[in-house]
């Protein structure tokens, strides 16, 4: 028992040391004014922590490109691990707001975490910028003057795939998703744009890793294509088993299932599998080329959209704080400066709609092997051009 206690305290001390080391770097450039503080909510616990790592590294690269400054003022990034537990997230974010007095809260991978910290942050009149989670209520009736998203509304990627399947002329499609809210939303999102025949919808328990029974049903039904939403480890399992079962001749359509976060484990089993997305490393613009090159140089892995959207968030903050000359006290001016989105996005087209969600392009992408042997998604064709999400119409943005 003593041993365990000692070990734990030791580990905590070590973690504290690392955190301090991370914070010390930007303070070198401390100028006359107090630094701007940004609370970065990046998941670092549990199997989904990879997504939080992408998010953190993307944002940190953005800060590096901004020389650690926002509008001429030094900026500090406080890392917050939400542990994928809403209660822990709220406690830590409250502490960041009240004790550390952060000026912005940025990040958040999962929608349930965003939902939990939404009120505490925005009630405090602090700007909250989601770089990934985009639950539809916050784009519609629940839109908020202190909330922006640099990502998308969750449902959009599924709808993109539905539209792409429709455009490709697939007459019969089979759907497969885990049996929880996001899985059912995925199926609904796909069907909102797909007008052909849905042969069957299969819902599996969230903990199920072996899909042989579902794959046998797919083989028996012989659809023109399969659409699935299987995030994280589920995606690794389904992609490899799909390939192993010899089903790859049936087009594999997906959202949040094959991306740069999962491709290292999926490897060539995922080759040519398709996904609907807002960003790929191959999007042809200068800003994106620089982002991908420097990201891989700094962190030695291929960034996913979680990283790209977080990078955009850093650039967005840089542009907004510069615009208002570093004076964060005037919230209305700051809001207008953020809303202007006067930065160059790695996605090319980027503007904020009335609900503070991006108006952007969406792409059909497929998995390819690069000359250096690493895997990435590559855009195939544009499915939507400068599209506003379908929930924006429900938003009556309240005056702050």
């Amino acid at each position: 028992m003593m041993n365990i206690q000692f070990g734990r305290r030791h580990a905590l001390g070590l973690a504290g040391g690392i955190a301090l080391g991370g914070l010390a770097a930007p303070t070198v450039a401390r100028a006359q004014a107090a630094p701007i503080k940004i609370g970065l909510v990046a998941l670092a616990t549990g199997p989904a922590a990879t997504l939080g790592t992408h998010l953190r590294d993307g944002f940190q690269l953005g800060m590096r490109h901004l020389d650690g400054k926002l509008g001429g003022r030094a900026a500090e990034v406080l890392l917050i691990d939400d542990e994928l537990r809403p209660d822990a997230a709220v406690t830590k974010v409250r502490a960041a707001l009240e004790r550390d007095r952060v000026d912005f809260v940025v990040g958040v991978v999962f929608s349930n975490i965003l939902a939990a910290i939404m009120r505490p942050v925005t009630d405090n009149q602090t700007f909250l910028i989601s770089t990934n989670a985009g639950p539809s209520p916050f784009a519609g009736r629940g839109c908020n003057p202190f909330f922006f998203a640099t990502s998308y509304v969750n449902d959009q990627n599924h709808a993109v795939m539905g539209k792409a399947a429709q455009d490709a002329g697939y007459g019969r499609v089979m759907l497969l998703a885990p049996n929880y809210q996001a899985g059912r939303d995925a199926v609904a999102g796909f069907k909102s744009e797909y007008k052909g025949t849905v042969v069957d919808e299969m819902f599996t328990p969230l903990t199920q890793m072996d899909f042989s029974a579902e794959l046998a049903r797919i083989a028996a039904a012989r659809p023109d294509a399969v659409f699935t939403f299987m995030p994280g480890g589920l995606g690794v399992a389904i992609v490899r088993q799909y390939r192993q079962a010899g089903l790859a001749s049936i087009p594999f359509l997906s959202a949040f299932t094959v991306d740069e976060a999962s491709l290292p484990a999926q490897g060539e089993a995922a080759l040519d599998f398709q996904t609907g997305t807002s960003w790929t490393p191959t999007l042809p613009n200068e800003q994106n080329a620089r982002f991908v090159r420097d990201f891989e140089g700094a962190y030695n892995y291929v960034p996913a959209s979680y990283a790209a959207h977080a990078y955009d968030a850093a650039m967005l903050l840089g542009s907004a704080v510069t615009k208002i000359g570093g004076n964060l006290a005037d919230k209305a001016a700051l809001r207008a400066a953020i809303k202007a989105a006067d930065f160059r996005s790695v996605r090319g087209n980027f503007a904020f709609g009335a609900n503070h969600f991006p108006v952007q392009d969406f792409w059909l992408a497929k998995v390819a092997r690069r000359p250096d042997g690493k895997f990435q998604t590559e855009h195939v064709r544009k499915v939507y051009d400068n599209v506003t999400d379908p929930f924006a119409a429900q938003c009556r943005m309240p005056a702050a």
Binding site: I4, A48, T50, T204, D210, A216, Q244
Partner: protein, 307 residues
């Protein structure tokens, strides 16, 4: 549903059952012989999978990884026994549950610190990469057949060990009445250690075998642990034969339930409700089966301990 599809699903169920058996066999021995609740058994399955991933990357060969992972899993089991479990044999179940749960947390996070939280992959052995056409448009991977074969061979080996050797006799005697075995001059602690290490190795073996088809990630054993407990409770705690029968039963019920429930529900409900209710019922099915079996045989199918 055609007959072919039914047969294919039966085969899928068999394969899941075999995998469950490999995990449950060690669990039932440890629980039955030592009256020790080891929640960390699922973590040992994960350790096996990670050992396979690490060793396969180092050696470049699945077979070498398998050969090295088994003794490594055994060593991990023995080290855990020495450090933690040995001190818990005389404590009550609550202390064991708490301590082994702690081991889960520590190992899950330890693995994350070492390998990161991203899922890893283990390449399939070259010789078993293909599959044979089992029905129109569907390949049954050779590798899954190898899992079935490996599991059956392990079952046979276990049967021989438990039923035909002196160590097996002691294990059976220990499961029935451990204090009596100790009173007869057998070093029961040593027997416990051997059983524990062997159980850890079996779980590790299951992890190695599952690694090429599933995703290797922290926490991968936690869900299977629940199924493994269902298996050993249905089979009768401490009975390897019971674990084998129950694992196949659970695997088949689970797989057939998943594939047929939605269709079955469609006879009574409209399609969208049928899918939701069917999926929900399918995941409850094995627990319903467990309740039904325990209602008639409270000590499981093959009770070991005299009531």
């Amino acid at each position: 549903m055609s007959l072919t599809l039914l047969l294919v699903q039966g085969l899928n169920g068999l394969q899941l059952g075999i995998l469950l058996f490999l995990i449950a066999a060690g669990l039932t021995l440890v629980f039955g012989v030592m009256d020790f609740i080891n929640l960390a058994h699922g973590v040992q399955y994960m350790v096996g999978a990670y050992l396979a991933a690490f060793l396969a990357a180092q050696t470049g060969s699945f077979w070498a990884a398998l050969a090295l992972a088994l003794p490594a899993a055994l060593v991990v089991g023995l080290v855990l026994e020495f450090l933690v479990f040995r001190h818990l044999y005389d404590r009550d179940h609550m202390a064991q549950v708490l301590a082994t749960f702690g081991v889960i947390l520590i190992l899950n996070d330890g693995i994350k610190a070492l390998f990161g939280s991203a899922p890893l992959q283990v390449p399939m052995p070259e010789a078993l990469t293909g599959g044979f056409p089992i029905m129109d448009g569907l390949l049954y991977p050779h590798y899954r057949l190898a899992i079935i074969a490996g599991g059956l061979a392990t079952a046979a080996l276990l049967w021989w060990l438990v039923e035909r050797t002196k160590a097996g006799m002691l294990i059976r005697a220990g499961a029935t009445n451990a204090p009596m075995v100790a009173a007869l001059g057998i070093d029961i602690r040593r027997l416990f250690m051997v059983v524990f290490g062997f159980g850890a190795m079996l779980a590790g073996f299951a992890g190695v075998m599952a690694a090429p088809i599933l995703s290797v990630e922290p926490g991968m054993g936690d869900n299977l642990l629940i199924l493994a407990f269902v298996v050993i409770v249905i089979g009768g705690i401490g009975s390897v034969r019971g674990a084998f029968i129950a694992a196949l039963l659970v695997g088949t019920v689970e797989t057939l339930g998943r594939s047929m429930m939605p269709d079955l529900m469609r006879l009574f409900l409209d399609p969208s409700a049928a899918r939701q209710v069917g999926a929900a019922l399918a995941s409850m099915l094995i627990y319903i089966a467990m309740a039904a079996i325990l209602a008639f045989r409270p000590a499981g199918l093959f009770p070991v301990r005299a009531a």
